[in-house]
Amino acid sequence: MNIDKKDIRIINRYSDLSEKQVDKILKAHVYNSPESWQKFLRLLFISLGIAFTTAGILFFFAYNWADLHKFIKLGLVEGLIITLTSVVLFSNIKIDIKHIIITGTAILVGVLFAVFGQIYQTGANAYDFFLGWTIFITLWVVVLNFPPLWLVFITLVNTTLILYSEQVAHGWSAILLSTLLFSINLLFLVAFIITSKTVETIKTPNWFLNIIALATIVFSTIGISISIFEPYELATLVLVSLSVIIYAIGIIYGLRAKKGFYLSIIPFSVIVICSAFFIKISVDPGMFFIISLFIVISVTLVIRNLINLQKKWTNE
C-alpha cells in the first residue's frame, strides 16, 4: 500500500509517533530508494556527458572556424550527425538513452543549418533556416514519439511561423498571427489527445499535454485581448468564434475526463480577457478598483468550484 507525505502529516498530528518512527516511515515510503538513485545518477551522467562533450567539440571548431574550408565545416557537423544516428541504429543501448541522443542530434541539425547559413550568407534569423530545421527533423519526431523531442519540434513550428510573419508576410496583423498560432497548437493538442485515447501503444504524459494546452490558450488570450483594442477584422471573428467553441469543448472535456488543469486555465483566460474588455470601456480609477474586485471574486469562485469538483471526483 502507498503511504504518501500527506498521510504521514495527518497521522503524525494525531498520534504520539516519535521522531525515529516518522523518520523510518519517511525513508521506507517517501524517500528515494537505492534503485531509483542509480537510475537518476545514470540519467544525470549520460545527459551531462553528452551535453558537455558535444559542446566541447562545437567550441573547438568555433575556435578555428574562420580558417576552415567550407567543405570541412559542413562535413564536420554532418559527420557528427551521422555518427550519433549510427550509434542509435546499430548499438544495443537502452531505448530511453537512444531517445536522448536523437534529441541532441535534432539540435545538431539546427547547427548544420546555421553553418550552412553562415557560409552562404543567408542570415541566421531568416525564417527558412527554422523551416528547414523543422522539416528535416519531422521524420525523427514522428517515428520516435518522444515528448521532449516533440516539444523542440512544436517550438520550432511556432518560431518559424512568427519569423515568417515578421520577415515575409508583412501584411499579417498581430490578431491573424495569434489566430494561426492558436489553431496550430490546438491541432497538435487535439491530435495528441485523440491518439493517446485511441492507440493503446502510444502513451502521452500529462505534463506534455498540459504544456501544449497552456501554449494554445496563451495565444488565444493574447490575440483576443489585442483585438479588443484594435479595429475589427476578419481574423477577429474567426479567433473569437473558434475560441468560444474550443473553450466550451475544453470545459466539457475537463469535466468528463476530470482534468482540473483545463478547468483552471480556461476560466483564467476568460477572466483576463474580461479585464482587458473593462479597461477598453474606461480607464477611470474606479474601473481599476472594479477590475481588481472582479479578478479576486471570479478567481475565488473558480477555485471554489474546482475544490467541489475534486471532492466529488475523489468520492466517486
Binding site: W37, R42, T53, F261, G286, F289, V299
Partner: protein, 358 residues
C-alpha cells in the same frame, strides 16, 4: 475500499512496520482526512491563486495610484498595516483555500504600501527592511497557510538581501548564501525531527522548504552575475567554503543510502566528488544548485528537482559564457568534463546494489 477502511489499513500497516507501539486518535485522524478532502489543494489551484492574486494586486495598485492615494504617505502607511493585519486575521479565522487569492493580494499590497509609505516619510531603509522581517516572522508564527507562509519567507530573504545591498556590504552576500545553504540542508535532512517537534512547524515545513530553495537561488543569481552587484570577483570562492563541505557531507549520506561498503569505492567516490566540487569553487552557483538537486532527489521532492535542473542549465550556460578563456581552452574544459561524466555513467552499475554515487 472506502475511505475509513483505507485509513485503518494504513494505520495497521504502519503499526506492523514499527518495533515500538504508538498511540493514535482514530476519530481525529478520520476527521482530519475529511477536512483535508474538503480543502484539497492541487498545483492548478495554487497557481491560479498566485496569478489571480498578482493580477488583482497590480490593478488595485494602479487604482490607488490613479486616485492619488500615494500622495498622502500617512494614509498609505495605515492602509498597508490594515491590509497586512486583515490578511493574517482572515487566514487565522477561516483557514480555507478559497480565500487564498484575496488574502495573498491584500498581503502583498499591504507590504508594498507599508514600504512605500515609510520610504516617503524618509524612514531609513534599514529600519524598513528590519520591520518587514519582523512582521513577516510574526505572521509565520500566527498563521501557517501555505501560500502566505511561502510569501513571508521570500519577504524575509529579500529584506535580508536589501539590507546587504543598500548598505554596500556587497561581500556579505557570501554570508547570506552560507546561511541559506545550511538552513536549507538542515531543513531537508531533518524532516522527521521538524514535523514531530511542533504542530505549527509541521504545517510550515512545505512552504518554508520551497521558500528556502528560492531564497538560495536569489543569492546564487547575485553571486553569479557580477553585473547586478559589484562583488569582489576574486573572492567569489568564499561561498564555496560552506557549499563544498556541505556537499561532501551530502555525498557521505548518499553513499550510505546506496550501501557502499568497500573502502576502495568509498575513497574513489569521495575523491571524484571532491574533484567535481573543487572544479566549481569559483562558481558557487553551480555547486549550490547541485546541492538543491541532490537534496530534492534525496527526499523525492519533484518541484525542487525541476527548479534545480532549470537553474543548473542556466548557471552552466552563464559560466561558459562568462569564462574569459579562449574558445580553445573552453572547448578542452568542456570536452574533458563531458568525458568524465560519460566515465561516471559507464561505472554506475545498472542493477547491483553496490554502486557509485556521484
Amino acid at each position: 475500499m472506502n475511505k475509513e477502511a483505507t485509513i485503518k489499513a494504513l494505520l495497521e500497516n504502519i503499526r506492523l512496520s514499527q518495533d515500538d507501539a504508538f498511540e493514535y486518535d482514530e476519530t481525529a485522524i478520520l476527521g482530519a482526512y475529511e477536512k483535508s478532502e474538503n480543502d484539497q489543494s492541487s498545483i492548478s489551484i495554487k497557481i491560479l491563486s498566485i496569478f489571480g492574486g498578482f493580477l488583482a494586486t497590480i490593478t488595485f495598485v494602479a487604482f490607488l495610484g490613479l486616485v492619488g492615494f500615494y500622495e498622502s504617505e500617512f494614509a498609505v502607511l495605515i492602509l498597508g498595516l490594515i491590509f497586512i493585519v486583515a490578511s493574517i486575521w482572515l487566514n487565522k479565522k477561516y483557514d480555507k483555500l478559497i480565500i487564498d487569492t484575496f488574502s495573498i493580494s491584500i498581503y502583498i499590497i499591504g507590504f508594498l504600501s507599508l514600504a512605500f509609505g515609510l520610504t516617503e516619510m524618509h524612514v531609513d531603509q534599514n529600519i524598513i527592511a528590519i520591520l518587514i522581517i519582523i512582521i513577516a516572522s510574526i505572521s509565520l508564527v500566527i498563521t501557517q497557510n501555505y501560500l502566505l507562509s511561502f510569501i513571508s519567507v521570500l519577504m524575509i530573504s529579500t529584506s535580508l538581501l536589501t539590507l546587504i545591498l543598500s548598505n554596500n556590504y556587497y561581500d556579505l552576500i557570501h554570508l547570506y548564501v552560507g546561511i541559506m545553504v545550511i538552513s536549507m540542508t538542515y531543513w531537508f535532512l531533518n524532516e522527521a525531527k521538524i514535523i514531530t517537534s511542533h504542530h505549527k512547524l509541521s504545517l510550515l515545513y512545505d512552504p518554508v522548504r520551497i521558500g528556502l530553495i528560492i531564497s538560495l537561488l536569489f543569492g546564487l543569481i547575485i553571486v553569479d552575475n557580477g553585473d547586478i552587484v559589484p562583488i569582489a570577483q576574486n573572492f567569489v570562492w568564499i561561498s564555496s567554503l560552506i557549499i563544498i563541505p556541505t556537499g561532501m557531507y551530502l555525498i557521505h549520506i548518499i553513499a550510505k543510502i546506496n550501501n557502499i561498503e568497500s573502502q576502495k569505492s568509498k575513497t574513489l567516490i569521495y575523491a571524484l566528488s571532491l574533484l567535481i566540487f573543487l572544479s566549481t569553487a569559483f562558481s558557487p552557483s553551480i555547486s549550490g544548485t547541485i546541492l538543491i538537486l541532490l537534496l530534492s532527489f534525496l527526499v523525492n521532492y519533484k518541484t525542487g528537482l525541476i527548479l534545480g535542473i532549470i537553474a543548473l542549465i542556466y548557471f552552466i550556460c552563464q559560466y561558459y559564457y562568462n569564462l574569459s578563456f579562449t574558445l580553445l581552452t573552453k572547448s578542452i574544459i568542456l570536452f574533458l568534463s563531458g568525458v568524465i561524466f560519460l566515465l561516471f555513467y559507464l561505472f554506475t552499475p545498472q542493477k547491483t546494489v553496490k554502486n557509485e554515487a556521484i
